[in-house]
Symmetry: C2
Subunit: 426 residues, 2 copies
C-alpha cells in the first residue's frame, strides 16, 4: 500500500472500546446468505468489545423494483407517496438483519426512521437529515444491544416518511455516526477500499490506506463511485472517522483493513498525489468567437443555471484578437442537448459557432500534497504530451487538477498519470 | 338470487351520501393494472357523493415472499422483527394506491398503521386491534380526501409495528369501519359474493344477496373462505354493514352488487337454510370402549387443550352396555398425530382402541331459519341416506347442522343437500 497503515494514537485509543456505525450496501445484503455474512462482521466487532449500530440498504434490486412500480403508476407520481413505497425496501432489510443477529445470539432490534426518529426537512425524495434523536438508542447501545437502522429514510416534522435521495444510506450512516459521536463509521461495500485509480483500468493501482476528507470529496465528485459526496461532506463537517471496506473479504487479524477517510492531520505519510480519477459523464460545449465584452459570461451561464443545468469546468481564454474569445464548458452528458438549446434561445448573444461534443472524458489527479509542491501540474501535462494526448480544457483547485481529453484516450491517460506520480505498485 | 335484493329503508337512506370503507385483497391489487382497476371502483363511489377510506392488502405473492425471507433467516424468528418485515408489503400497496388515485385527479393520502395510529395489543404476529384514532382521518374524509390505509398492521403501546395474523386486512377494514361509524364496509375480492355453496362443486349455486352475521360467521368457520371469521365477529359486534363483492366485475347500474352481511332484522325474506359448506381440514379421533364414568371426558380433553389442539365436534353416545362408551371428536388434520400422541400419554386412561382417520369431511348446512322450523335436520339426514352416505358424527347449533362423512362423498353430499333445501337455481 502506498500510504502507511500507521494508526495515529487517537484512533488507536478509541479502538480499545469503540462505538462503531457499520453500514452495509445493497450488494452486501442482497439475499439472506449475504445478510448472514454481514451479521458475521458485526459479531466480530462485538467480540472485540465494541458497540455497534448497523445501517442497512435495501436488498440489491429491491429499490429499482419499487421505483419501477411508482413510475408505472405515473411518471409524475407524488414524492410523498414515493417515499412511503420506496422506504419499505430498507425496512425489510432492517427487520431481517435484526432477526439474523438474534439468531447468532446477539440482542438486536430494528429502529425505523420514524421510531428513532431521524428528523429531516420536508423535501420528499431528496430530504436532508436535520437531526437524530439518540437518547433511547444510545441507552440500548450502552446496554449491549445492536441497533439496526434502515438507511435512506427519515421523518418530516409533519410526521411523514421522507427518503434522502441517491446515496442516502451512506448519508444515514454518517449522520447517525455524527449524532452518536461514534468512533468510526464503517461503510461495507463490494470493493475493499479506495484505490489510487480504477483497478479495472490500472492493474498496478493500490488501495489507499488513509485519505483526507478533502481528497475523498474530490474523488467522489470526480467519478470514484465508492462513496457518495454528500456522505463525505457530512463526515468532513462532523469529523467522523470513516472506513470503506469490503463485506466480502475476511479481515481476520486486520484492525483497519479498508481505506480510512479522516482529517489531513491524522495522515502521517502524505503522497503529493493520492489518486487518479476519470469520468465519462460530461460533455463539452464550445461557443466560438463570442464578443469579448463585460457581461457575456453572465449572459451565457445565468440561463443555464435557470434551466437547472449543472456546469462544471469553464474556460475562457484571453482574447487573441482583442474583440472575440472562445468559451468552453462542460455539463452532464444527459443535459448536453438541453444546454445547446438553452444557449440558442438566448436573445442578443452573438457567436460564430456553437459546437457540442460527448466524445470527451475528464481526467483528474487529486492530492492534498500538491498544495505545497510545485511542478505537480507540469508532470501531468508532460506525461499526457509524452503519450500524444491533447488537452482540451484545464481546471484546477487547491487539491486537484482536471483536464478534458478525447474519450478514446481515457485509459491511456489514467495509466500514464498513475505511473508518472509513482503510484504504480512496486 | 335466492334472497330478495330488497334494500331496507335504513340502508337506502345511508346510500344517499355515505362513508364507505373499501378493502381490496391481494389479487385485487396484484399489479399496477389491477391497482388502477381498484382505484376506478373508488372513483365511482366518490362520483356518487360518498366518502371513501380504502384498506389494501399486499400485492399477491409479496407477503409469501417476505415470510419466506423470515423463515430462511430462522424458522424461530422474532415476531417483532417479522412484523417489521412483513408489514412492508401493505405499505407498498398503500403508497401505490394513493399515487394512482392522485393520477385520477382524486386527493388521496396514505396513512400507515403507526401514523393513524391503529392501536393493537402487544401480541406480535397475531395482534388484536384495541383502538383506532379517527379524528385526523375523519377530518380528511370530510374534506373530500381519500384515506388509504394498509391492512394487517398496527402499533403497539411500545411504539412497535404489529401485524394482525391471517385475514388481517379484512379485520383492519372492519375495525376502521366501526371506528369511523362507516355506513358500509365493502370487501372487494376475486369472487362476487357469498354463494349458497361452492360453485365449483355445485354449478346451480346462487349468490346470496343478504345474509346475517350469525350465518356468515358459521359459514366462515365451516370452510367458506371468502371472509375471515375474525372480521365477521367484528362486523357483528360493531354492527357494521358488510358487503362482499368482486373487484373484477363491472357493477354499472347496481348499487349493492355483492352479498350484504347484516343484522337478521334487515333481511326481509329468509330461507330456512342459507347455504351448504364443507371442509376437508378436519380429522377424526375415536376412543373405543372408554369406561363410562364421571370425569372421563375431562381426562381426555384437558390434555388436548393444554397441547393447544383445537377440538371441534365431540360425540359421546349413551352407553349401550352400561360400562363403556365410545368418544369421537375432530381436530385439524395437521394436529391429528399430535392429538393421538397426547391421548396415548394420558396416564390412567383406559380404552380398547384408539382410531384416527383423515379420510373424512365435514358437511354443514347453515340458516337462521332453522331456529323456528322443525324438520330441517331430518331433511338433511334423509337426503344423505337417499344417496347412500353414512353419517359418522353429528353436531348442531342454533343455526347450523354439521355431519362428518367419508371424504369421497363430499361433492355428492353438498350437491344433494343444496338440492334438498331448494337452493338450486331455477
Amino acid at each position: 500500500m502506498k500510504n502507511s497503515p500507521f494508526i495515529s494514537a487517537a484512533v488507536l485509543l478509541k479502538e480499545l472500546m469503540a462505538l462503531i456505525v457499520a453500514k452495509f450496501g445493497g450488494t452486501s445484503v442482497a439475499d439472506v446468505a449475504r445478510i448472514e455474512n454481514a451479521a458475521g462482521k458485526i459479531l466480530r466487532e462485538l467480540e472485540r468489545g465494541h458497540q455497534v449500530a448497523v445501517v442497512v440498504s435495501a436488498m440489491a434490486g429491491v429499490t429499482n423494483q419499487l421505483v419501477g412500480y411508482c413510475t408505472e403508476v405515473s411518471p409524475a407520481h407524488d414524492a410523498r407517496e414515493y417515499d412511503v413505497v420506496v422506504s419499505s425496501g430498507e425496512q425489510i432489510t432492517a427487520g431481517l438483519m435484526a432477526m439474523m443477529l438474534q439468531k447468532m445470539g446477539v440482542t438486536a432490534r430494528s429502529w425505523l426512521g420514524w421510531q428513532i426518529p431521524i428528523r429531516t426537512d420536508g423535501i420528499h425524495g431528496k430530504a436532508r437529515i436535520v437531526g437524530v434523536e439518540t437518547a433511547e438508542i444510545l441507552k440500548r447501545l450502552q446496554g449491549g444491544e445492536v441497533v439496526v437502522v434502515p438507511g435512506f429514510q427519515g421523518l418530516t416534522d409533519r410526521g411523514r416518511i421522507s427518503t434522502l435521495g441517491r446515496g442516502g444510506s451512506d448519508t444515514t450512516a454518517l449522520a447517525l455516526a455524527a449524532a452518536l459521536k461514534a468512533d468510526r463509521c464503517d461503510i461495507y461495500t463490494d470493493v475493499d477500499g479506495v484505490y489510487t485509480a480504477n483497478p479495472r483500468i490500472v492493474p498496478q493501482a493500490t488501495k489507499i490506506a488513509r485519505i483526507s476528507y478533502e481528497e475523498m470529496l474530490e474523488l467522489a465528485s470526480l467519478g470514484a463511485k465508492v462513496l457518495h459526496s454528500r456522505s463525505v461532506e457530512i463526515a468532513m463537517k462532523e469529523k467522523v472517522c470513516l472506513q470503506v471496506l469490503s463485506s466480502f473479504e475476511d479481515h481476520i487479524g486486520s484492525d483497519l483493513p479498508g481505506t480510512i477517510v479522516t482529517r489531513e492531520d491524522d495522515i502521517m505519510e502524505q503522497e503529493y498525489v493520492s489518486g487518479v480519477a476519470y469520468t465519462l459523464d460530461e460533455g463539452k460545449v464550445t461557443l466560438v468567437r463570442v464578443p469579448d465584452l463585460p457581461g457575456v459570461a453572465a449572459k451565457v451561464f445565468q440561463p443555464l443555471a435557470d434551466a437547472n443545468i449543472n456546469v462544471d469546468m469553464i474556460v475562457q481564454n484571453v482574447s487573441s484578437d482583442g474583440k472575440t474569445t472562445d468559451i468552453t464548458f462542460t455539463v452532464p452528458k444527459a443535459d448536453l442537448e438541453k444546454a445547446a438549446d438553452t444557449i440558442k434561445a438566448i436573445k442578443g448573444l452573438k457567436y460564430d459557432d456553437l459546437a457540442i461534443s460527448d466524445n470527451v472524458s475528464k481526467i483528474s489527479i487529486v492530492g492534498v500534497g500538491m498544495k505545497s509542491h510545485s511542478g505537480i501540474a507540469n508532470t501531468m501535462f508532460q506525461a499526457l504530451a509524452d503519450k500524444g494526448i491533447n488537452i482540451q480544457v484545464i481546471s484546477t483547485s487547491e487539491i486537484k487538477i482536471s483536464v478534458l481529453i478525447e474519450a478514446d484516450y481515457t485509459e491511456l491517460a489514467v495509466r500514464a498519470l498513475h505511473a508518472a506520480y509513482g503510484l504504480d505498485e512496486e
